[in-house]
């Protein structure tokens, strides 16, 4: 048995190490975002003349703010659809009986593993022909396709963990499978839903290749594309300052999202403990 004091100390050391590991590069990002002009050529750990110029310039940039809006909309819709479609499919795979389950699982997994670079151009051509090039739909549909496999897997493994007796009890009480799914299984799988949701959201938010291939006007750009379009004053200059500022700005809503959903994770856990 490890003595409680020692255990506590170890825990705090671990926590400190984790914080340093996670935050130092992020600190560097903030550091660079507060530097302008020639300071960027130096490697000072603290900006010699900190300024918020980079931040104000990205917000003055209409393209960036509209890209933020686009990203939020696309991410939200894709995540919602991924959770809905994904939970349906995961329930079918985890609970219901039918043939070819393994094959479907294999196909589902394989969809997400094909190198995007090889299919970017064909999707571009197809989308142009259909007419959804440079639209929200044009991005949501492929994102959904690539996000579903992970969502389905995570949700299926969560559904599997939930004791069958609970659903069976509901079925005995006269509920249909679907009602059992909605009222019994989903609430208990809350941590799984949150996890799948967060992972999907982060994937969509970060995705660059398809976004840059399937959009061509600032009104449709997502955040990664807009950041790629940040410019210095010439072709070769890499505007580290504004890129860093944009990155810091983007991180904040995501962090807020996590803080908000944290409570849900805790609630789901307590609910499970009570019922189980």
């Amino acid at each position: 048995m490890i003595a409680p004091r020692l255990r506590s100390l170890l825990l705090w050391i671990a926590v400190a190490a984790i914080c340093v590991f996670c935050l130092v590069p992020f600190y560097w990002l903030i550091n660079v975002s507060l530097k302008t002009g020639t300071d960027l050529s130096n490697a000072d750990l603290i900006p010699p003349s900190p300024s918020l110029d980079n931040y104000s310039s990205i917000f003055e940039n209409n393209d960036f703010t509209s890209a933020l809006r686009n990203s939020v909309i696309i991410t939200t819709i894709t995540t919602a659809l991924a959770l809905i479609f994904g939970s349906f499919a995961a329930y079918a795979l985890a609970r219901l009986r039918f043939k070819f389950k393994f094959l479907i699982l294999a196909i589902v997994l394989s969809i997400s593993t094909f190198p995007p670079i090889a299919i970017a151009a064909p999707i571009f051509k197809l989308w142009t022909d259909i007419g959804i090039y440079n639209t929200y739909t044009g991005l949501i549909v492929p994102y959904l396709t690539f996000a579903l496999p992970l969502a389905i897997y995570i949700l299926a493994s969560f559904f599997k963990e939930i004791p069958k007796e609970l659903e069976e009890a509901a079925l005995v009480d006269g509920a249909t499978h679907f009602q059992a799914f909605r009222k019994v299984v989903l609430p208990l799988a809350a941590p799984g839903l949150v996890t799948a949701g967060l992972l999907t959201a982060f994937f969509v938010w970060n995705e660059f290749l398809l976004a840059v291939t399937l959009t061509s006007s600032p009104s449709a750009y997502t955040v990664p594309v807009a950041v790629a379009n940040f410019t210095g004053s010439t072709e070769f200059e890499v505007p580290l300052g504004t890129i860093s500022a944009a990155s810091v700005v983007i991180t904040i809503p995501l962090v807020v999202l996590v803080i908000v959903f944290q409570k849900r994770i805790v609630a789901g856990m307590t609910a499970g403990a009570v019922k189980g």
Binding site: G37, T38, K125, V212, N229, T231, T234, E235, V238
Partner: protein, 423 residues
């Protein structure tokens, strides 16, 4: 219907559809495929979309506004592509392969022009060029030429320079490459773009061209890289690193890293493009550096390598005449002056360098024109990316000491020959 069956049918149908029409853009019978088309007339009317990399300073928008005002029947719009050259090229090629009419005028890097032309993706503008060939700096026209025809108009150009630190921390103005390396060794070193990418090809060719060497023969069908000159240049570059004249860090440097190191006082000499000049003047070394054209190497005059962008008309454009009109406008001296003064984009029109406004914005303007005049294009070939890869991978291996200069030269030659024989 059974969902699984539906999905399976969809997949099979898709595969059939794909097999059936998979070669529609690639058979000789497609539009604009076998016969290259030319555009000779320009008519300033209709819609024109200009696809080029990010308009960093608004200078492109200014030219567009000027054109639209002067030609009310025409409407030019800017479609900005990402800043990175690789992304610009990929997105342009994607549209060209799909025969999309979205882009009329393309901002094409000088090294992509022959590639696009070889695929019949561009319209022949030889007649239009012939009409005003004298206005351009001759070397810039070379980049737009492929198989004796012109496929684009030069738009802006670029040539490298040697930057050097003056004053206390500095060194003397370099009188030759050999001397510069030596003096760098005594001071804080010479840096250039030595990472394993296109920039290394440029740096290597600058020395090779000075030495009178080539990598591909005149006809563009045979590799000539297994030569004395190539070995000497590789040995020279390698010795520079071995002796410490050149810090090993250059093997990770692209343009920005070398600029930052130079501005941070980490080097006495640097090879870089003109863009670093304005940024340097804004930095802590503002008063203690200067630029000069390439000094002689092996007794021969220094030679640069051309950079820059050309303007070409897509073969799938629905308004070639309007596109031509816009391009001819953009290369007028007045518009070139705007590019030079507002965006520091070196002009391709000779007389622009004599304008007082340009001399003010680019203090080394005359040097710049000289540098451009003596510069040579990189090998003009449809397989340029593979040639460049052959060059930079082998030069990099030589710099790292992974291959001897002899071995690197031989391998470079073999790789280039393979590239020239690609199907």
């Amino acid at each position: 219907m059974n969902v699984l069956r539906l999905a399976a049918i969809l997949i099979v149908a898709a595969l059939f559809a794909v097999a059936g029409c998979g070669d529609d853009d690639d058979d000789g019978g497609g539009s604009g495929a076998s016969d290259s088309q030319a555009v000779t007339e320009s008519r300033a009317q209709g819609d024109v979309t200009w696809c080029i990399g990010k308009d960093t300073t608004g200078a492109f928008t200014t030219v567009i506004d000027n054109f639209n005002k002067a030609n009310p029947d025409a409407n030019v719009e800017l479609l900005e592509l990402p800043e990175s050259a690789d992304d610009q090229r990929r997105l342009q090629i994607q549209r060209l392969r799909a025969e999309s009419a979205q882009c009329d005028v393309l901002g094409v890097d000088v090294i992509w022009t022959a590639e696009y032309a070889a695929q019949n993706w561009l319209l022949d503008v030889s007649d239009a060029i012939e009409r005003q060939a004298d206005a351009f700096i001759p070397s810039t026209l070379e980049t737009a030429k492929y198989e004796d025809k012109y496929w684009a108009f030069p738009f802006n150009t670029n040539a490298g320079f040697i930057y050097w630190r003056t004053g206390q921390d500095g060194g003397p103005k370099p009188a030759s490459w050999e001397q510069m390396y030596q003096q760098a060794g005594d001071a804080s070193g010479f840096i250039y773009q030595g990472a394993r990418y296109e920039g290394l090809t440029v740096n290597f060719l600058e020395l090779l061209y000075s030495a009178g060497g080539t990598v591909v023969d005149e006809g563009g069908s045979e590799a000539t890289a297994d030569s004395e000159e190539v070995r000497n240049v590789l040995t020279f570059m390698r010795d520079g690193i071995d002796s410490g004249d050149v810090p090993k860090a250059v093997t990770t440097y692209m343009e920005e890293e070398s600029r930052r190191a130079f501005e941070g006082g980490r080097a006495t000499y640097m090879r870089n493009w003109p863009y670093a000049y304005a940024l340097g003047k804004d930095s802590q070394i503002a008063d203690s550096f200067d630029v000069t054209t390439f000094p002689p190497y092996e007794g021969n005059p220094g030679a640069g390598v051309l950079g820059g962008y050309n303007l070409a008309i897509s073969a799938f454009s629905e308004n070639p005449e309007g596109s031509l009109a816009f391009i001819e406008f953009a290369v007028e001296p007045g518009q070139q002056e705007i590019q030079a003064t507002e965006a520091s984009l070196p002009a391709v029109v000779s007389e622009v360098y004599d304008m007082p406004s340009v001399k003010k914005a680019l203090p080394f303007a005359t040097d710049l024109r000289d540098a451009v005049e003596q510069a040579q294009p990189r090998p003009v070939s449809p397989v340029y990316p593979q040639i460049s890869e052959a060059i930079y991978t082998n030069v990099y291996a030589a710099l790292q000491g992974d291959k001897s200069p002899d071995q690197a030269a031989q391998d470079m030659n073999a790789d280039i020959q393979d590239a020239l024989e690609t199907f």
